[in-house]
């Protein structure tokens, strides 16, 4: 490792600058590996495209097209040149809905993932680090949340959530609070294996406290795993948002992909056979979730030496 550490000219090398240089080198190596992974790159390109669409929504489609009263199109028209994705039962262009829906779906997915990762990482590191009652209890809590079926728990939480909180925030919190256990289990196992390594013994021997050990030694080492897991969690969170919206637990005032699909389901999409109303928002969900899955799998392949191929 020291051989590859670049010498910082003019400044004395501190522990921090060495660590930073080493991390930069590791990141560059990771990116080289990632760029060579075809599946991962395809996923990344799809995600960038969707991110651009979500950010450029005001430019791509007029927000007036979201309003039921201001809609100008024909009712339930099949895809045509002026309405490439067809229209819904209020005459709104499904394309406009899908473009604007990407904002809410991605926002909810990312925000819920953030909550989930913070809880999962904290609980995972703490339960792996602390031996004894506290760590044991956190480990138990993780196992409990792993076993309890996700959707019924999310339904119960969404039902009892205080009604004064904006629905969209409620959905984000509900998904975040119910989906952290897989991450926590992974991080816990990784933390336990890191705790056995000599540099942690050294840190303990030099008098480093729990916080120092966890934040300076364990966290940087579990971080790559956390990041790979994040992309997989985003896909779960986006699926959860769609499903909760479909069950009528989403934000009724904001258009997300799940909301479009729920409207279609309750708006007699089956009897009128307006397949475009389901197909296009559905494809958007599947594409984005699959792209996140592809990126996550690629990152796992690069980070997990067992998958890095002897073949």
């Amino acid at each position: 490792m020291t051989a590859t550490t670049p010498v910082v000219r003019g400044r004395p090398q501190t522990a921090r600058s060495i660590a930073r240089a080493r991390r930069r080198a590791a990141l560059a190596a990771f990116w080289r590996g990632y760029r060579a992974d075809r599946e991962g790159m395809i996923g990344l390109i799809v995600l960038v495209l969707f991110a651009v669409v979500a950010l450029a929504a005001p430019v791509l489609a007029d927000a007036d097209g979201l309003s039921v009263t201001k809609a100008t199109g024909p009712v339930l028209a099949s895809p045509s040149l002026s309405y490439p994705f067809g229209t819904d039962d209020a005459g709104r262009s499904v394309l406009t809905l899908v473009i604007w829906g990407s904002q809410i779906s991605l926002l909810v997915g990312l925000a819920a993932t953030f909550i989930s990762m913070v809880i999962g990482t904290l609980v995972g590191i703490a339960s792996g680090h602390f031996r004894g009652l506290g760590g044991g209890l956190l480990g138990r809590l993780t196992e409990w949340f792993l076993v309890i079926p996700f959707l019924p728990l999310a339904i119960v939480l969404a039902t009892v959530f205080p009604p004064d909180v904006p629905k969209i925030i409620a959905v984000i919190i509900v998904i975040g609070v119910t989906s952290w256990s897989g991450t926590a289990r992974l991080i816990r196992a990784q933390t336990m294996s890191i705790e056995e390594r000599p540099y942690l013994e050294r840190a303990r021997a030099l008098g480093g406290g729990h916080w120092h050990q966890m934040s300076r030694h364990v966290l940087p080492n579990v971080m790559p795993l956390v990041l790979a897991n994040t992309t997989l969690t985003v896909s779960i969170a986006i699926l959860a948002e769609t499903t909760l919206s479909f069950l009528g637990l989403g934000d009724p005032l904001r258009i997300s992909w799940g909301k479009i699909l729920d409207d279609a389901y309750s708006g007699a999409v089956i009897s009128t056979r307006s397949w475009w109303w389901v197909l296009f928002p559905g494809l958007a969900v599947v594409l984005v979730v699959r792209a996140f899955n592809m990126c996550g799998r690629a990152m796992e392949r690069i980070l997990d030496p067992r998958l890095r191929e002897r073949a």
């Binding site: 138990r140 196992e143 409990w144 792993l146 076993v147 309890i148 079926p149 996700f150 959707l151 019924p152 728990l153 339904i155 119960v156 939480l157 039902t159 009892v160 959530f161 205080p162 009604p163 004064d164 896909s235 699926l239 769609t242 499903t243 479909f246 069950l247 009528g248 637990l249 699909l261 279609a264 389901y265 999409v269 089956i270 056979r273 397949w275 389901v278 197909l279 559905g282 969900v285 599947v286 979730v289 699959r290 899955n293 592809m294 799998r297 067992r306 998958l307 002897r310 073949a311």
Partner: protein
């Protein structure tokens, strides 16, 4: 019994489960269930604000008699430990209260809807476990082959699709063709025997659930197989001169099956989500559709009962898996 726990030499296969192991696993399952009960109780009562107002059908302007009724049902007004004790006592006698929407005991309503769900999800699950494992083993063994690339790619796509979305699409396609009924479990006008009629109604929902579960299980099995692929004992088996598929079936598969078994049972929570949404799409009269209907109210006692039922089911299945595990894997025993 206890002598078994300390006796058994390394080569003796466990015929009886060590009592201590059974007790430990049962206690763990019981604690998990207790945790669910605690969540179930406190979530509905100890939230800020007046729960009665939050749950009453017309929100803040509900009529006072209805509010009083809800407060009585939830046992509000009593100190919380007395409420919790009363709740536990009722639970011990399987009394889950009275449904607000249907004015019948929650236990009876859930009991009526229980078997349709077991029938639908169970059929899909058994089919999917078989097919998924078969696919996963072959894909993992020939990592990077055409079968592997195609089946993994299809599995990841299905895994990225909400079950109910797939159901909705198939429902539109099949209702266009008029081949299968668009929902429900039986048709009162049908002249078919009851079993055939139910099977006919089940076909599309089972295909939908089955496809999604196959995706999940084949991916689990594939990754277990990948983990075993370069194990030393396989080199030994090959060195003995066994043919490739003998090595796969007799040596790699039994070992890859072990981590998969745990994951199969852990993924049952995922099966519950599928049941709730797919039953809704196909109006299948099971617990899932009941959940969807209970959400409309919301019918709080019914929702509580359903959450408890789903969780208890998954916990019980996991316990069974834990108890069966020593029989599948002779290495897992006492500890």
């Amino acid at each position: 019994m206890t002598s078994v726990a300390t006796g058994g030499g390394p080569r003796v296969r466990p015929r009886k489960l060590p009592l201590f192991y059974v007790l430990r696993k049962t206690l763990a399952a019981f604690l998990t269930l207790l945790f669910v009960v605690v969540i179930n109780f406190f979530l509905f009562r100890v939230l800020p604000g007046d729960p009665a107002k939050a749950f009453s059908p017309r929100g803040r302007n509900a009529d006072p008699t209805r509010l009083a009724e809800i407060r009585r049902d939830l046992g509000l007004g009593l100190p919380w430990h007395e409420q919790f004790w009363a709740y536990l006592k009722n639970l011990a006698t399987f009394d889950l209260g009275e449904s607000w929407g249907q004015h019948a005991p929650v236990t009876r309503i859930i009991g009526e809807r229980f078997w349709p769900t077991v029938l639908l999800s169970g059929t899909a699950l058994l089919l999917a476990a078989g097919i998924g494992m078969w696919l996963g083993v072959r894909a993992g063994w020939r990592h990077g082959s055409r079968l592997d690339r195609m089946s993994s790619s299809a599995a990841v796509t299905l895994y990225s699709t909400p079950e109910w979305l797939l159901g909705l699409v198939l429902l539109i396609v099949f209702s266009d063709l008029g081949l299968f009924p668009s929902g429900g479990m039986r048709d009162p006008r049908s002249t078919l025997p009851a079993v055939l009629d139910i099977a006919w109604h089940m076909t599309v929902p089972v295909i939908v659930l089955g496809l999604v579960y196959i995706a999940e299980y084949s991916l689990i099995m594939r990754s277990s197989m990948l983990d075993e692929r370069y194990a030393d004992y396989l080199t030994t088996a090959r060195a003995k001169g066994l043919r490739d598929d003998q090595v796969r079936r007799r040596h790699a598969l039994p070992n890859a099956l072990l981590p998969s078994t745990t994951l199969f049972f852990l993924s049952l929570g995922f099966v519950v989500s599928g049941a709730i949404t797919v039953e809704t799409v196909f109006s299948w009269p099971g617990l899932g559709l009941l959940t969807y209907d209970a959400l409309r109210g919301p019918d709080v006692p019914l929702l509580q009962g359903l959450f408890l039922t789903f969780s208890a089911g998954v916990i019980l299945m996991n316990l069974i898996a834990d108890l069966l595990y020593p029989f599948i894997d002779p290495r897992v025993r006492l500890s």
